[in-house]
């Protein structure tokens, strides 16, 4: 493992020094203006379509060692329409803080992140979606996104294709243990309905339904799920939340019909997204309780007491301890565990000794 496996301050600063921090996506926008389209690293249709979050193993003798704990995926999809156009810049700026705080509440896992942005179907790109990455690649892929900032003023945006990707086109090792990953959608608008076949093919490519099938799901292209059904499916594999930022009544009216009220988080702005996400994950994992949340936020996230109180109130209604209730929560493999095969999910109990450490076979003279 090298420096790039963990997003350290040094690696981030080195990378940031080569980026226009006022508009981190400026190079990607230039590429778009030249008609080159999305970079394959953030094009949802590229690189096999299915986004995979895999346990990282390194060979050790005849076995494989789990490098960083099992892979825990955190996906975030940001609305970048209208006043949210700068969301990628903000997310890039707070990335080290996000990463550090999430590592604090997900200490036993290998944190992997997918960043996505969504727009309106009338924009050039409805969705940009990175790969599940760790370390500096998270930052690199953020700069490849193309936030158009349009929205088209048509009462709603199109996050449903990103949600569809989260539900049907994601393969996360954490789910193989019966645990769930985390999924956050940040918006201030309702989602358009329905989920359209033509748009799915536009976003994920013509083979989208084959990919859905390859990932273990059966979907009839002529009878596609509603947004609520997509979210219900997503909830089977992820603790999903919708952040409504400075929203109006219309957005709230819509989202409360497609996801439970206790999974909607109301925020005034996006400044404290890292802290809110860490609070939600910490409470869901059972690493934090409501009683110690304020202290955590003040001491570990360096926010003021008033902000800590505000965040606590915002997240108080979520299903606290939901991850900790799942089977295998206390049994998952940890960093350093050894496995017979690279894709095994449980460590081996029989650890053979390495070549060279064994006694040489005795020669039997006849």
């Amino acid at each position: 493992m090298n420096d790039k496996d963990v997003l350290s301050d040094k690696v981030y600063k080195d990378f940031k020094s080569n980026v226009n921090t006022d508009h981190v996506t400026s190079k990607a926008q230039e590429r778009h203006e030249k008609g080159l389209g999305l970079d394959p690293l953030v094009d949802p249709a590229s690189n096999g379509v299915i986004r995979r979050s895999l346990n990282r193993m390194e060979p050790e003798g005849l076995l494989f060692r789990l490098v960083m704990g099992i892979a825990m995926l955190v996906e975030e999809r940001l609305d970048t329409t209208g006043s949210f156009k700068r969301n990628v810049d903000i997310a890039f700026r707070v990335l080290p803080r996000t990463y550090e705080l999430l590592r604090k509440v997900l200490g036993r896992y290998d944190l992997q992140m997918i960043n996505a942005i969504f727009a309106d179907a009338l924009d050039d790109y409805i969705l940009c979606r990175s790969h599940a990455e760790m370390g500096i690649k998270i930052a690199e892929q953020m700069t490849l996104m193309v936030p158009e900032g349009g929205g088209k003023g048509n009462h709603g945006e199109d996050p449903q294709y990103g949600l569809f990707g989260g539900a049907y086109l994601t393969s996360a090792d954490i789910n193989r243990y019966g645990l769930k990953s985390y999924d956050f959608t940040v918006t201030d608008e309702p989602s358009h309905e329905p989920v359209l076949k033509s748009q799915l093919e536009r976003v994920f490519g013509k083979e989208v339904f084959d990919k859905v099938k390859e990932n273990g799901f059966e979907i009839d292209p002529n009878n596609l799920p509603s947004v609520k059904q997509v979210i219900d499916k997503l909830l089977e594999r992820a603790h999903a939340f919708v952040f409504l930022v400075d929203m109006d009544g219309e957005a709230n009216d819509y989202w409360t019909t497609v996801i439970a009220q206790n999974r909607i988080i109301y925020l005034e702005d996006t400044n404290y997204l890292p802290e809110v996400k860490a609070a939600i994950i910490g409470l869901t994992e059972g690493v934090l309780t409501l009683s110690d949340l304020e202290d955590f936020l003040v001491n570990e996230a360096n926010v003021s007491k008033d902000v800590a109180k505000m965040i606590k109130r915002a997240v108080a209604g979520i299903p606290i301890g939901a991850q900790a209730l799942l089977e295998n929560f206390d049994k998952i493999p940890l960093k350093g565990d050894l496995f017979k095969e690279k894709r095994d999910i449980w460590p081996t109990d029989e650890i053979p000794e390495e070549d060279g450490s064994e006694e040489p076979p005795k020669t039997e003279w006849l």
């Binding site: 109301y266 108080a316 209604g317 299903p319 606290i320 301890g321 209730l325």
Partner: protein, 271 residues
């Protein structure tokens, strides 16, 4: 059963009072004082009790602050708001190792009753005692429920469980409290009118049932206490959802009620 709380306090359960999918509720004794002991049904429900603790502590903090502010402005020196009467106080909260690491809340309603046995859910009135209350008795029950909603809605809190099993009354002292706040929602946004309306309609329906009336229409039986249809009309208006603001509902309610019946203590009366 003895349960060890914080600071080596011992809570001795006296009897089981209620149960739901999330918790079991007992009456318990600590020294001479009776409390409610709520224990999560399983470790899985600890989070629900944790949220309830947070909501109750928040309401208490706000209630105390509001009382201080009110004291500065009141015209009558003995006038108090007593919003804390509407919900239990958190006496203790802990994880009980001897009970499979389930969370326990010790809840006190000592402001509204010295003994927990002085309190009864209003569902007992119609279901167990098989009686109905008279209109004047309904006034203080509904009036206090509306006052509670003024307070909770003002804090962007939805009680949600406003069923007759969850509304307790101290019949002698005319106190009303809601016991279970595990289903409540505390929001960091303003409540929508329809959310407030549902709770205003909800409490009115429960009181109409106590009067032996029709909770769908608000129609209540004739009674000699009612000289005209003003009270009846008010209940119908509340049930039709014409109020989506608890403050307006509460002030209109007392405006009309006081024009019918002078403000005077009326003993709890059933028929």
């Amino acid at each position: 059963m003895n349960i060890k709380g914080t600071g080596n306090k011992i809570y001795a359960t006296v009897r089981q009072l209620a149960s739901n999918p999330n918790f079991n509720l007992y009456e318990c004794l600590e020294g001479e004082q009776t409390y409610f002991l709520k224990i999560a049904k399983s470790k899985a429900e600890n989070g629900t009790l944790e949220k309830e603790e947070y909501i109750l502590k928040t309401l208490k903090e706000v209630s105390d602050n509001v009382e201080i502010e009110y004291a500065k402005k009141r015209t009558r020196p003995d006038s108090v708001l007593n919003n804390h009467f509407f919900f239990p106080e958190i006496v203790d909260s802990f994880i009980c190792k001897e009970q499979q690491n389930r969370r326990v809340l010790i809840l006190g309603l000592t402001s509204v009753s010295k003994q927990t046995s002085d309190l009864a859910p209003i569902s007992f009135i119609t279901k167990r005692d098989m009686v109905k209350i008279d209109p004047k008795t309904s006034v203080w029950i509904l009036g206090k429920l509306l006052k509670m909603l003024v307070f909770t809605h003002g804090q962007n809190v939805l009680v949600r469980d406003l069923s007759a099993d969850n509304i307790l009354v101290n019949k002698a002292q005319h106190y009303v409290s809601v016991l279970n706040w595990g289903d409540a929602l505390i929001l960091n946004r303003e409540l929508e009118q329809k959310e407030c309306l549902i709770e205003i309609v909800g409490v009115t329906k429960e009181v109409v049932k106590l009067l032996g009336g029709n909770p769908t229409t608000g129609e209540i039986p004739e009674d000699e206490q009612m000289e005209d249809s003003r009270y009846q009309d008010l209940l119908k208006k509340l049930i039709r959802g014409e109020y989506h603001d608890a403050y307006l509902a509460h002030s209109d309610f007392y405006g009309i009620v006081r024009s019918i019946w002078p403000s005077k203590f009326h003993p709890y009366t059933t028929k």
